[in-house]
Subunit: 234 residues, 2 copies
């Protein structure tokens, strides 16, 4: 068993990745990025999840190590809203908010690798996924593998970028969480993880909290229904 | 001719790269990173160079476009001094200051690509060089080429990372500057570019300003003497 750094945002996917790492690696540290208002809820939720996840399964608490918070407000300078005058924050026709930063995951991975270098961690675990997010080129498997090469050449290391969700759909991600941490982990994910693009918590639904209308909420709800064997609306 | 974004720090290498871009591309924008006290002098000098370089050669002023400043104080969180307690800023035995951030150029290139994406620029020009800096794995040609692949896959673009200094030594870099902008550019580089690791300007030498003792100053001075056909001390 080796040591790992998990890109942990406080969402469903990265919480499942954190459980995956706690199950498979000897020492697990986490990294999170603070880059703007929309994600304030995520940041609050990630703190709660870190405080609770160690109790889900014997052994996990002892493996969970330091959490690294990286302040990246500078990303706002690169968003469409910042580069173009008089544009309000809104959802684009492509389903991406116009605060989207091209190649954002490449930045996150590079910061993560720099921290992993300093902390002596070899595995870097991220929730990138082609199945549901093929619209984001920085989540694709080819991108991640090219990035592993660039990071290892550029830092003279042998990091492994682990993406356990790459080929899973949202229903299979719920299933993986169940396999890793049973009903207790499912409950934690439903109760505490945040997915909603609009940063809303709202009323609790079976699949968790959120506006229920944005692309991220709809994807999460549909994945939950498929996982539970319930009818999934078109 | 296409459009370019130059990684421009205000040093000898990146000023030569800026001249290279002004000579070869139709529209040239610049990007600089503000990440701590040591580089304050560089940031002051880069402003002066941007104000003067357009006048070096007919056509250059019209090509020189927007300058993008990116605040990256967060890099301090990843340096050895931040990750280790009670360590003062100092030069390491490897010739690198212990404020060194692993893979720093990968971060710079990723931010540059995100800006280039937003600004519609295709070429990204950087002063990375294997010849004098083989100690930095993030300056190597293999790293840059892997990074071009990762950036293009991750942003669904066709950026070209141009590194005109990759195979030049410091004497050849002076020669390239002379070819691009003649004596006027050499004068600008001697007078205004900053190389010294310690951030000192000191007395003007033939090769410019600096402490004269740190690895960066010695490399610059030796390159100057070789370029001028003067004896180079061991």
């Amino acid at each position: 068993m080796t040591d790992a750094l998990v890109l942990f945002s406080g969402g469903q996917d990265s919480t499942t990745c954190l459980a995956f790492a706690l199950e498979n690696f000897a020492r697990v540290e986490t990294i999170g990025f603070d880059y703007g208002q929309r994600h304030r809820v995520e940041l609050d939720q990630r703190t709660k999840i870190l405080a609770k996840i160690g109790a889900i399964k014997p052994g996990w608490a002892a493996r969970l190590g330091k959490d690294h918070g990286v302040e990246l407000g500078v990303l706002g300078q690169i968003s469409a809203t910042a580069m173009t005058h008089d544009v309000a924050i809104a959802m684009g026709a492509d389903g991406l908010p116009n605060t989207f930063v091209p190649g954002r995951n490449l930045l996150f991975l590079t910061f993560a690798a720099a921290i992993a270098y300093r902390r002596g961690l070899r595995r870097i675990v991220g929730g990138m996924c082609e199945t549901d997010y093929s619209g984001y080129p920085d989540c694709r498997d080819n991108t991640i593998k090219a990035m592993q090469l660039a990071l290892n050449l550029g830092m003279d290391k042998d990091f492994v970028l682990d993406t356990p969700l790459m080929w899973l759909d949202k229903a299979e991600t719920w299933k993986l969480a169940e396999q890793l941490g049973g009903a207790a982990l499912i409950d934690l994910i439903v109760e505490e993880t945040h997915t909603c693009y609009l940063g809303e918590r709202g009323q609790r639904q079976a699949w968790g909290y959120g506006c229920g209308e944005c692309p991220a909420c709809r994807l999460r709800a549909a994945g939950w229904r498929k996982y539970r064997g319930e009818p999934v609306q078109a």
